[in-house]
Structures are given as C-alpha cells and as structure tokens.
C-alpha cells in the first residue's frame, strides 16, 4: 500500500487506547469498578471480528461473481484474522467475566453464541482443507462463507437479545449504546474500535500480500 497514513493512524489510535484506557478516569459502578477498562479491549475485538468477516463475505461474493483467485485469497485471509480476533474477544471476555461474573464461562447466551460463531468459521477452514482442487475449493468455501455469515448475524445479535443474558444490552440490563455510555469512556472507546479494526485490516493486508507472493512463487 503506497498510502501509509492509515497505518500510522492505527498505531496512534492504539497507543492512545492503551494509555487512555489504563490511565483515564472511569466511572465506578458496583461489581464492575475498574474492570470496565476492559471494555476498550473486549468490545472492539468483536467489532473488529464483524468488520473482518464482512470483508470476507464481500470478497466471497466477488469471487462468485468473477472467479478471480485474488478474491478468494482475500476472503480466506480476512476470515483467518477474523477468527483470531474472535478468539481474542472470547479470551478477554472470559478474563473479564472471571472478575465480574465469578466464573470464566457462565453459559451466557452471548458467550455461547460467539463460541458457536467461531465454530462455524473453523468449520469453514476444515472445509477448505478437505478439498484438493483449487477452483472447487474456492467456490465451495465462498458459498459456505456466505452461508456462515448469514447464519452468524442472527446468532450473535438477535438470539441473545431475546433471552435473559448477563451481558449488557439484553434481558433487562442497561445497554452499551450511545445514550448509556459515559462520555469519559466514550473518549477512549470510539478511537479504540477504530484502532483495533484498522490493526486487523493491516494484519490481513500483510497476510494477503504474503499469500499472493507464495502463490506466485509456487505457480512458477
């Protein structure tokens, strides 16, 4: 990428997130106390995951439309990094839950739904691994990608809201939407989301370039 400013922006935002997240004043609520700082690290992981998976689906559509191998590579690498973000999100969530809810895994619907979403995408990679022919592999994985994404969206957003959940925003808890978030937190939260997402995209573009080089070398 010739234009490097967005990467520098990503770094600056992330440094700001880390410093601000750890040093700024946060409102103290019962149970949560200072652990609310994890908000800046946990939620952006999920935002990042959704954004990366959206890019992955977009490239899957592109592949089905014009069959170019580069779309397929982009689709896979976005899914790859998306899964990493998802795992990180789960781990940060479990660490946070350990301190606030008492146990890392409490069978909360949103936790379960996110674990299932990760399972779906891991099945995506198993599918890719089990097909040898490149074109068939690409087409099948593009189809499954679209299928998985469309199932994941209701799974992650609709189902947990309908049931009682420990997570904020569902089952009678106050939510994390724009009206409920303290403005001090918001100062660090929004840049955090942007920063982590940009980092994810940067990692993915690096992996895509690496993969394309590999394919190029292997092809010749």
């Amino acid at each position: 990428m010739k234009n490097r400013t967005w990467k520098i922006v990503a770094i600056i935002l992330l440094i700001y997130t880390f410093l601000g997240g750890l040093f700024f004043k946060v409102p103290r609520l019962p149970i949560l106390n200072e652990t609310i700082r994890v908000l800046h690290f946990h939620v952006p992981m999920w935002f990042g995951m959704i954004i990366l998976f959206s890019f992955s689906v977009f490239y899957a559509f592109q592949y089905l439309k014009n069959g170019s191998e580069s779309s397929d590579i982009c689709s896979v690498e976005f899914a790859n990094v998306g899964i990493v973000y998802g795992i990180l999100g789960l781990v940060t969530g479990m660490t946070w839950a350990n301190f606030t809810w008492g146990e890392p895994w409490s069978g909360d619907p949103k936790q379960n739904a996110s674990a299932i979403a990760l399972l779906i995408y891991m099945a995506y990679f198993i599918l890719r691994g089990s097909v040898k022919d490149i074109i068939k592999k690409a087409r099948l994985s593009a189809v499954y990608n679209i299928f998985a994404f469309t199932i994941m969206i209701p799974l992650l957003f609709i189902l947990p809201r309908m049931t009682d959940s420990l997570h904020p925003g569902s089952g009678g808890n106050p939510g994390f939407n724009a009206y409920d978030l303290d403005s001090n937190l918001r100062l660090v939260f929004y840049p955090a989301v942007i920063g982590w997402s940009l980092l994810g995209i940067w990692i993915t573009t690096l992996r895509i370039r690496l993969k394309k080089l590999e394919v190029h070398i292997n092809g010749q």
Binding site: L64, I120, S130, V131, K136, L140, V143
Partner: protein, 212 residues
C-alpha cells in the same frame, strides 16, 4: 419438479435397505438411550425434549447424508443438462423435509412408548417440531450438497452442519417452556425466520455449488 421429487423417492426405494435401515437405527438408539439413562432419577421425563431433539438430529444427519451419497457423478452430469438447479434443490429440500417429518413422527411414537410423554400442549409441540424439522432439513440439504462436492466425507457433513443447527435446536427445545401458542409466538417466529433464511440461502447458493 414433482417428477424430481418422485424420482428421489424412487431412488431411495431402490436401495432396498434405505428406510428400514434408518428405522432400525432409530429404534436401537432409543433403546440405547433408555438403558444408558436408566440409573438417573426421573429419567423418563426429565430428559425428554433434549433426547428427542438429539435423536432427531442424529438420524437426520444420517439419512440426509445417505441420500446424497447415493448420487454419482455421471448422473449428476445428466441432471445438469436437463433441469435447472433451483428445482433440483427444491426437490431435494421437499423430499428431505417429508423424510424428516416421517422420522419425527416415528420418534415421537417410540419416545411415547419408552419414555412417558410430558408433552404439555400438543399444538405447541407440533408447531415447534415442524418448524425445527424444516430448519434441520433446509440446513442439512445445503451442507450435504457442499459436503458432497467436497469429497463425500460424512464427518465433514456433521462438522459443517452442527454450528448452523445449534440455533435451530436451541429454539426448538425451548418449546418445553411454553404452554400455549400465544405465549410462544416470539420463538416460533424466530424459528420460522431462520428456516426461511436457510431455505432462501440454499436456493440462491446451490447453483454455484452445482456448477462444477
């Protein structure tokens, strides 16, 4: 398209062990579950819904994969030439749905015999059961067509379809919490929308799978 459904039925009948195999599998599973849980208290009523859906799910995967594995490439090529993919997958969907509904009914009968039936309201149970089966058949049809193209591996089919089936199962098992149709409207609608989503996705995506 009616002819296609009829063709599917004929093909299943042709392999002589088709339906009886599934029935035998079903019966043995119910009996095994009976004996496996016999030491628990109240095993007859406590686990009913969960066991029921577990068995339906396993049998469904087994039977749907069996159907797809009977396809072979030359016949596929022939189909490619004479009918459009939408009607093919539509026929498969409908046939799978009918098959799974039959399996459902038989499972209900078997379960009522072996375990006491704690079904509160028949209407609610049947509504959830029907919608759940519809969702199962839709997602299984799509994933088995993917797995079919990807090397006819039955384990792959299970792996691919389980995460998709989990929300369907969650919603179907929640029928235990409701007594009237009015109460359970929200869950039914969600289940229905997931079903429609899956079917529409299958119809849209199948032509791409079919192309190779």
């Amino acid at each position: 398209m009616k002819r296609l459904i009829y063709k599917e039925f004929l093909m299943d009948k042709k392999s002589k062990i088709g339906m009886p195999l599934v029935l035998l599998y079903l019966m043995s599973m119910v009996i095994i579950f009976n004996y496996a849980l016999i030491s628990q208290n109240n095993y007859k009523t406590n686990f009913w819904h969960g066991l029921y859906w577990l068995i339906v799910l396993l049998i469904a995967i087994h039977s749907v994969s069996r159907i797809f594995f009977q396809e072979n490439e030359k016949r596929d090529f022939y189909y490619y030439q004479i009918c459009n993919p939408q009607s093919l997958i539509g026929a498969r969907l409908i046939y799978n749905f009918i098959l799974l509904v039959l399996i459902n009914i038989i499972t209900i009968v078997l379960f009522t015999i072996f375990f006491e039936s704690p079904i509160g309201t028949i209407n609610v149970f049947f509504a959830f059961s029907l919608l759940g089966t519809f969702g199962l058949s839709g997602s299984l049809t799509l994933t088995s067509s993917i797995a079919n193209k990807a090397g006819k591996n039955p384990v792959l089919l299970s792996v691919l379809s389980f995460p998709v089936i989990i929300p369907i199962i969650i919603l179907s098992v929640s029928s235990i919490n409701h007594l009237t149709i009015q109460e359970s409207w929200k869950d039914l609608v969600t289940l229905l929308s997931i079903d429609i989503l899956v079917v529409v996705l299958s119809l849209i995506l199948f032509p791409y799978i079919w192309k190779s």
